[in-house]
């Protein structure tokens, strides 16, 4: 039993090791990435992708694992981004206390908003979370305390950031930080979704009424899922602000949450690595499809084709619709289908040992 279990971990470990070694490779992937793998530009793009892999997975804890459709996940990410940026830049705190404060704020906000919004279900829940996130967005834009920088956003004052995370040459450290974040989020989500509480989440997703009939109160379990997912999102926000070096209003909007939903469904909801893959691929496309338009082939096309092809969100939107229509399990289901097929085929073929006997 022991060896197969280790084998189950093997693909993940290989991917992480490869990703960790990536800054030492000078491999060039033209078109997909801005430069060779070890160039700061590429590492920055990949770091953002990794942060979003973690963020998408944190959203999947709600959407895919517990069946809660929230439209306010951007709020907790934004808390991480803005509280860290404000503590570092306005109050000149050190990095660790700033990150700690951000996590604390994320936890408290999530507990409060979750406690209120989980009193309603389904679409009403989605709307309440949307409304709270909108309130957060309004607060950031209107900036009553003059700390967020409003529409302009807030550039990070690097004075208090450790030297290892500053400068173009240190982009690789930020990249490793993002990779570490993705791994941590994965491990935490794996831990909680395979715990007894995680099984109750799955039961709530499948049939909440039945959970209640079996004598469990679903409310505290949903609240735990909400707080865990939101706090993980806050953690992603803390790393994100370091990677991109500033906070902007875009991360507070409802559209931002919608893009998280798109990522999760694209990758495969309820599958841990699927959601991460979705986040990674979405951000890679979002950041790089725009530059595709500059490539000779597209620029030479007639306007009817060139205009849509030069809009990353148009392509992502269309891709998303296609996935929802024809591949309901997302990218992850491609592998799963193959696996189940293999599993189904297995008994038909005589096993090697069986032949020997």
């Amino acid at each position: 039993m022991r060896i197969p279990r280790l084998l189950g971990w093997a693909p993940g470990v290989v991917v992480v090791v490869l990703l960790a070694l990536l800054p030492w490779s000078a491999l060039d992937v033209p078109g997909v990435l801005p430069g060779p793998l070890d160039s700061p530009g590429t590492l920055q793009v990949l770091a953002v992708c990794l942060v979003f892999a973690g963020l998408a997975l944190s959203y999947d804890v709600l959407f895919g694992f517990t069946g809660l459709l929230s439209f306010g996940h951007a709020l907790y990410f934004a808390v991480g981004v803005y509280v860290t940026a404000i503590a570092l830049t306005r109050w000149h705190w050190a990095l660790l206390p700033s990150a700690g404060l951000a996590l604390g704020c994320g936890l408290v906000v999530a507990a409060l908003v979750g406690a209120v919004s989980l009193r309603v279900r389904g679409i009403a829940f989605a709307m309440v979370t949307l409304a709270f996130a909108q309130a957060g967005s309004v607060l950031v834009v209107q900036d009553p305390l003059a700390v967020t920088g409003g529409e302009q956003g807030l550039g990070l004052d690097v004075g208090k950031v450790p030297d290892a995370f500053i400068g173009v040459l240190n982009t690789r450290n930020l990249y490793w930080l993002a990779l570490a974040l993705a791994v941590v989020v994965f491990l935490v989500v794996r831990l909680v979704t395979t715990s007894p509480a995680g099984h109750v989440w799955a039961a709530i997703r499948e049939n909440e009424q039945r959970v209640t009939v079996l004598g469990l109160r679903s409310y505290p379990f949903k609240l735990i899922a909400f707080v865990v997912a939101s706090t993980l999102a806050t953690l992603c926000g803390v790393v994100y602000v370091l990677v991109v070096g500033g906070a902007s209003v875009g991360v507070t909007t409802a559209d931002f949450t919608l893009s998280l939903l798109v990522m999760v469904v694209l990758g495969g909801s309820g599958v841990r690595w699927g959601a991460m893959l979705g986040g990674f691929v979405y951000m890679l496309l979002d950041q790089r499809l725009g530059s595709l338009a500059g490539v000779g082939g597209v620029a030479a096309l007639p306007g009817v084709l060139r205009v849509p092809l030069s809009q990353p969100l148009f392509l992502l939107g269309v891709l998303f619709v296609l996935v929802v229509m024809f591949l309901p399990g997302g990218l992850a289901s491609l592998v799963r289908i193959r696996r189940t097929r293999r599993a189904r085929d297995l008994p038909r073929r005589p096993l090697p040992e069986a032949e020997g006997v």
């Binding site: 459709l69 209120v116 309440v128 949307l130 409304a131 709270f132 909108q134 148009f314 939107g317 619709v321």
Partner: protein, 292 residues
């Protein structure tokens, strides 16, 4: 006093816009349990096509706005019907997937608008007389606001007439109550789906033209910013109730204007959120919704 009057009229105008968007959303949700996230994009497409046609016409500004509104309503209705026939219908009984599809279409349409016309605001053709004001009780009221309110009232009247007096309206109302029963009685409720989508789209397209006149310009993101408040209006009013949407739209529009003016800019938006939270906690089904 005059300030109160101006604020009230402005709030009602905003409420009329919210109502135009929310009425379609509410009917679609009531009948099909689909939150149409493409609704904001339909509004923006209507506004842009109306603007584009109108800017190529060499006629009086008033007529231009009329043409823009008509073109906007028709294109948005056609697009909405296409969306229903081409995508939403194929995902029958997969309600989450239906919502997701509208999210994708919304993303793609807004990006397309941005690709074609750029993200800078486009000045909307507003006839001069709409900007002029009439003094009522010491308050200078712009005519444009009154037009918006009037259109909102007319659309409300038409929706109520359609729902109460026509056969299709009967099917829609019955479908909101109990879709399975309507189908069991041998009525093809899917035709009502397409119709409701098209009607909602038409109202959204009209709202696009009016929003263009109201704000003076249109941007690709016009729809998504209005859509959030329209969602709030739909939920406060009660999902599936057009009259509820109208009442909630007026409440939200007025509340937003008055608090934005008397408290501080931005507080109005926050108080709307608060209103939603309070309504949902006290009365989860909304003002006129059926108990869930």
């Amino acid at each position: 006093m005059s300030t109160v009057l101006v604020l009230a009229v402005t709030g009602l105008g905003l409420g009329a816009l919210y109502f135009l968007i929310a009425s379609g959303l509410s009917l679609i949700f009531g009948l099909m349990h689909v939150l149409n996230f493409a609704h904001g994009a339909l509004l923006a497409v209507g506004a842009y096509l109306g603007w584009w046609v109108a800017s190529h016409l060499d006629v009086a500004a008033g007529l231009r706005l009329l043409v823009a509104a008509a073109v906007g309503a028709v294109t948005a209705a056609a697009l909405a019907a296409l969306l229903e026939l081409g995508l939403v219908r194929r995902l029958y009984q997969r309600e989450i997937a239906q919502v997701l599809v509208t999210v994708g279409v919304g993303l793609a349409l807004v990006a397309l608008l941005q690709g074609i016309w750029g993200s800078d605001p486009k000045t909307y053709p507003v006839p001069h007389w709409m900007v002029e004001t009439t003094t009522v009780g010491g308050a200078a009221i712009p005519h444009g606001r009154l037009v918006t309110i009037a259109v909102g009232l007319v659309v409300l009247g038409l929706f109520v007439l359609f729902l109460r007096r026509t056969r299709f309206g009967l099917v829609v109302r019955a479908g909101v109550e109990n879709r399975a029963m309507v189908t069991a009685l041998g009525i093809d409720v899917r035709r009502a789906f397409t119709l409701v989508f098209a009607l909602g789209g038409a109202a959204a397209g009209l709202a696009g033209a009016l929003a263009g006149a109201y704000f003076g310009s249109v941007t690709p993101q016009l729809g998504s910013s209005l859509l959030i408040y329209a969602f709030i209006v739909v939920v406060i009013g009660g999902l599936g109730s057009v009259t509820g949407s109208a009442i909630a739209a007026v409440l939200v529009g007025l509340l937003q204007q008055f608090t934005n003016y008397y408290a501080a800019s931005g507080i109005g938006d926050l108080s709307v959120v608060l209103l939603l939270a309070v309504v949902l906690l006290v009365r989860p089904q909304g003002l006129l919704g059926r108990p869930v």
